[in-house]
């Protein structure tokens, strides 16, 4: 189980910054910028959340196997595929949350900061980001929990190779298949614990947000 746990943590360590940057960035773009095809982009980025993991996995499998440079990079059935497999279905959660977070920051506050002589990037760091922070963290917690728990997409593109691509959820599956229920329960309990912890965190963040910024 230790090996699966380490792989899961490694996946999370890479996916969390990616979720924050990609999800946060796309959410900001959708909330604050008006561009052609914005609604189409918004629809497309939400799709991975609704599609069955097997469908998502199938497309990702073909993308990683057929597109030249991706195939040559050797992502398929290797650790990078596990990272991608966990990232893709959890990204929409982060995008949704960050879009709501940035849209919730009153435009007038940012404009006031501009008229006080602050450059746009300073306004972002000192006004927009602090005000969006709590909702962003909620999004990050929820999407990370989803990434940690991914099963279907990872199985489709990364396989279930112990020590290389076998994450905790896949480990549970493997143990159940070989009727090692005690081990499966141990790993399951660990994931339940993580789930409850992240929900508690989300709850605290959300109630705190109402208290101060009401």
């Amino acid at each position: 189980m230790e090996r699966a746990l380490i792989i899961s943590l490694k996946v999370l360590a890479i996916d969390m910054p990616l979720l924050a940057l990609l999800g946060g960035g796309l959410g900001w773009l959708l909330a604050k910028r008006d561009f052609r095809g914005r609604e189409l982009v918004s629809l497309l980025v939400q799709l991975p959340m609704i599609l069955p993991p097997s469908v998502l996995g199938l497309y990702l499998l073909f993308a990683l196997g057929r597109i030249g440079f991706l195939r040559e990079a050797g992502f398929l059935f290797a650790f990078p595929a596990a990272v991608l497999g966990a990232l893709l279905p959890s990204l929409p959660i982060m995008i949704q949350a960050s879009r709501a977070a940035f849209a919730g920051v009153n435009r007038e506050l940012e404009e006031a900061a501009l008229t006080l002589g602050r450059r746009p990037w300073e306004v972002f760091l000192r006004v927009t980001l602090p005000l969006a922070r709590r909702t962003l963290l909620v999004g990050l917690a929820l999407s990370s929990a989803r990434a940690l728990g991914d099963f279907g997409v990872t199985l489709m593109v990364a396989g279930n190779i112990p020590g290389r691509t076998q994450t905790l959820p896949l480990y549970i599956y493997g143990q159940v298949e070989s009727l090692n229920f005690a081990r499966a329960h141990m790993a399951a309990l660990l994931l339940v614990g993580v789930g409850i912890a992240s929900l508690c965190l989300v709850r605290r963040l959300e109630s705190g947000a109402h208290e101060r910024l009401a």
Binding site: E108, T115, L116, P120, V127, L131, L213
Partner: protein, 377 residues
């Protein structure tokens, strides 16, 4: 007086066309017009928060916008302070941090002490650690003012920031704004749709209607009736009488004009003055009911000449032996039924609703602010 701001803006927003020309010096200018006339948009264009397709803006010799030359300074380089209607205080920062946000750049190492000085100037030094949500409406206004001025803008624009406050607080803040203007010398452009703001605040008024600036006037001229009559009529709102404030033997003050008299409350000065009564402060009376003793000396009767429905309000023009009155009432149903042209009505003016501007202190273009007498409620 040299023009500090020289702005010409041409901009279309859908069907709405903005065509604004402003020349403004170091005094307090009031941009006056009805709601929807383009006042706020004008401020946003000046501040650079809105792109302007065609126009030219210069402030203190700097060109901020010149559409022909392709110059358009971004808002953070314009040095134009803007006080929003909702104030836009940062909710995650304390009062001190909000002001500090305004002066960190300009104040360098001394920023914190400058921010403290500003809070002291608006009498909030004891509340520096409070968040905006823990401050009252008036205190928030003061923080916003301090933050904007601490940034050392070359001009400060205010977008009806006092409109949400009640009478006494508004008067205090107007006075405070005049004081800050006198101390800092920062020119001010104040947007409003309320006539009393013009009288109490400004040196100069710009009229704007349907997106077009239609002219400007010195306010002292306007009040003495020397302004252009068409502009005065455009304001067309409010009961204004020119007369005298006198005290009787018991020390009770009253305002007398050619055809009438109003008793006053808590007034200290006397002499020639202008009395102003907001139409929505006039109270209807039911002739069958006893009248509050405070109101009994200020009752009038007259005939309704005209009834105008405007949004949720009814505006009446009433002819009485003591002149022509405008009365505004919330549309509650009961008045809507009884308000018909030709009908006889009774109404009263609460003594505290009378705002006075003494003419004596207005001579020679002396600023009006000091002459506003507080009619405390």
């Amino acid at each position: 007086m040299n023009d500090l701001l020289d702005a010409h803006i041409n901009e279309s927003i859908g069907d709405f066309h903005l065509d604004v020309s402003l020349r403004h010096g170091r005094e307090i200018g009031v941009l006056f017009g009805p709601s929807g006339s383009g006042k706020s948009v004008t401020l946003r264009c000046l501040a650079g928060l809105r792109n302007v397709r065609s126009g030219r803006i210069s402030l203190a010799g700097r060109v901020l916008l010149d559409s022909d030359a392709g110059i358009c300074e971004p808002p953070h380089r314009r040095k134009m302070g803007l006080l929003f209607q909702d104030l836009a205080l940062f909710p995650h920062l304390t009062a001190l941090e909000n002001v500090l946000f305004g002066c960190e750049r300009t104040g360098k190492g001394r920023a914190k002490s400058i921010a403290r000085e500003w809070l002291a100037r608006v009498r909030l030094e004891s509340l520096e650690d409070r968040y905006p949500s823990q401050l009252s409406g008036g205190q928030r206004q003061r923080v916003a003012l301090a933050r904007a001025l601490a940034n050392e803008p070359e001009m400060l624009m205010l977008d009806e920031p006092f409109s949400a406050l009640d009478g006494p607080l508004r008067r205090n803040l107007r006075r405070e704004l005049r004081k800050l203007h006198a101390e800092t010398g920062v020119p001010i452009l104040y947007v409003t749709h309320q006539v009393e703001d013009i009288c109490a605040l400004g040196d100069k008024v710009f009229f704007i209607e349907n997106g077009k600036t239609t002219g400007s006037n010195r306010i002292s001229d306007l009040i003495r009736g020397r302004g252009r009559v068409d502009l005065w009529k455009m304001m067309g709102w409010g009961n204004i009488f020119e007369g005298n404030v006198r005290f009787n033997k018991e020390g009770v003050s009253s305002f007398h004009w050619a055809s009438g008299e109003l008793s006053l409350k808590d007034v200290s000065g006397s002499g020639p003055a202008i009395a102003f009564v907001r139409p929505d402060r006039v109270r209807f009376l039911d002739p069958r009911m006893p009248v509050d003793s405070e109101l009994s000396r200020n009752t009038f009767s007259g005939k309704i000449e005209e009834v105008l429905l405007d949004g949720g309000a009814i505006r009446l023009h009433v002819r009485t032996p003591c002149g022509h009155w405008q009365i505004e009432q919330r549309e509650t149903g009961s008045h809507a039924e009884v308000s018909r042209p030709g009908q006889e009505v009774h109404f009263a003016i609460p003594p505290r609703a009378v705002e006075l501007i003494f003419l004596e202190e207005m001579k020679g273009d002396v600023s009006l602010g000091s002459s506003i007498v507080e009619v405390r409620a």
